[in-house]
């Protein structure tokens, strides 16, 4: 078995943070690839370790090459991709949040924050922003490019 990516100290911190802040269940949907993916294995391990730190988290995994229907359902064409969805009994609440690539460094914090936001079902945006967004009737696609820090 590969050595853990999250050491005991970090794991304990995240466990405590999840314990303190997660409210509703969060469903992670992970798309991986068998071939031509340098980071898929490590990313899968990272997410598995993360899911093990809270009973509010669960994860489904799909092989991109073998799951065209699921890939289409979640509009995924790249791997590794993670969908961070809410869960309401059997219903998945897809807020459109996607992490594509391995979230390391600062992006790992962003991932933890994204999980927390989905779990509390609150974006944390200001009332002014929410007011403006309420009038938006067209789909808006935000792509945030990052590099490991």
């Amino acid at each position: 078995m590969a050595p853990k990516l999250l050491n005991d100290e970090i794991s304990a911190q995240i466990r405590a943070l999840f314990e303190a802040h997660l409210v509703y269940p969060v469903k992670l949907v992970y798309f991986t690839k068998k071939a031509d993916c340098d980071t898929c294995e490590a990313t899968q391990q990272l997410y598995s370790e993360l899911v093990s730190l809270s009973n509010k988290l669960s994860m489904s995994e799909y092989l991109l090459e073998e799951s065209p229907q699921q890939a289409q359902k979640f509009n995924v064409s790249l791997a590794p991709s993670l969908i961070i969805a809410g869960r309401d009994n059997d219903e998945q609440l897809d807020y459109g949040l996607r992490f594509i690539g391995i979230p390391t460094g600062y992006e790992f914090s962003a991932l933890i924050q994204a999980i927390r936001m989905v779990s509390v079902r609150d974006s944390g945006l200001t009332p002014e922003t929410r007011n403006e967004l309420a009038a938006v009737s067209r789909p808006m696609h935000f792509q945030v490019f990052v590099t490991p820090t």
Binding site: D38, T39, L78, R98, F99, I100, G101, I102, P103, E107, A110, L125, T126, E128, T129, E132, L133, V136, R138, M140, H141, F142, Q143, V144, F145, V146, T147, P148
Partner: protein, 56 residues
């Protein structure tokens, strides 16, 4: 969120020069750097307005 150096083709397609770079509806809006929420909202509003202006 997209890790630019893992998806070089995508980063090239969107001319990623500095990170974080946020593209709204492909290249309709581009924000480079970590900006306040208000600034991001203004960019979104700008993109929306451009969508609704008829091209004559």
């Amino acid at each position: 969120m997209i890790v630019a150096n893992e998806f070089y083709d995508l980063a090239m397609r969107y001319n990623v020069s500095g990170v974080p770079q946020t593209n709204i509806n492909e290249n309709a809006g581009v924000v480079i750097g970590a900006v306040p929420e208000e600034y991001m909202l203004q960019e979104l509003i700008k993109v929306l307005q451009e969508m609704t202006i008829p091209v004559s």
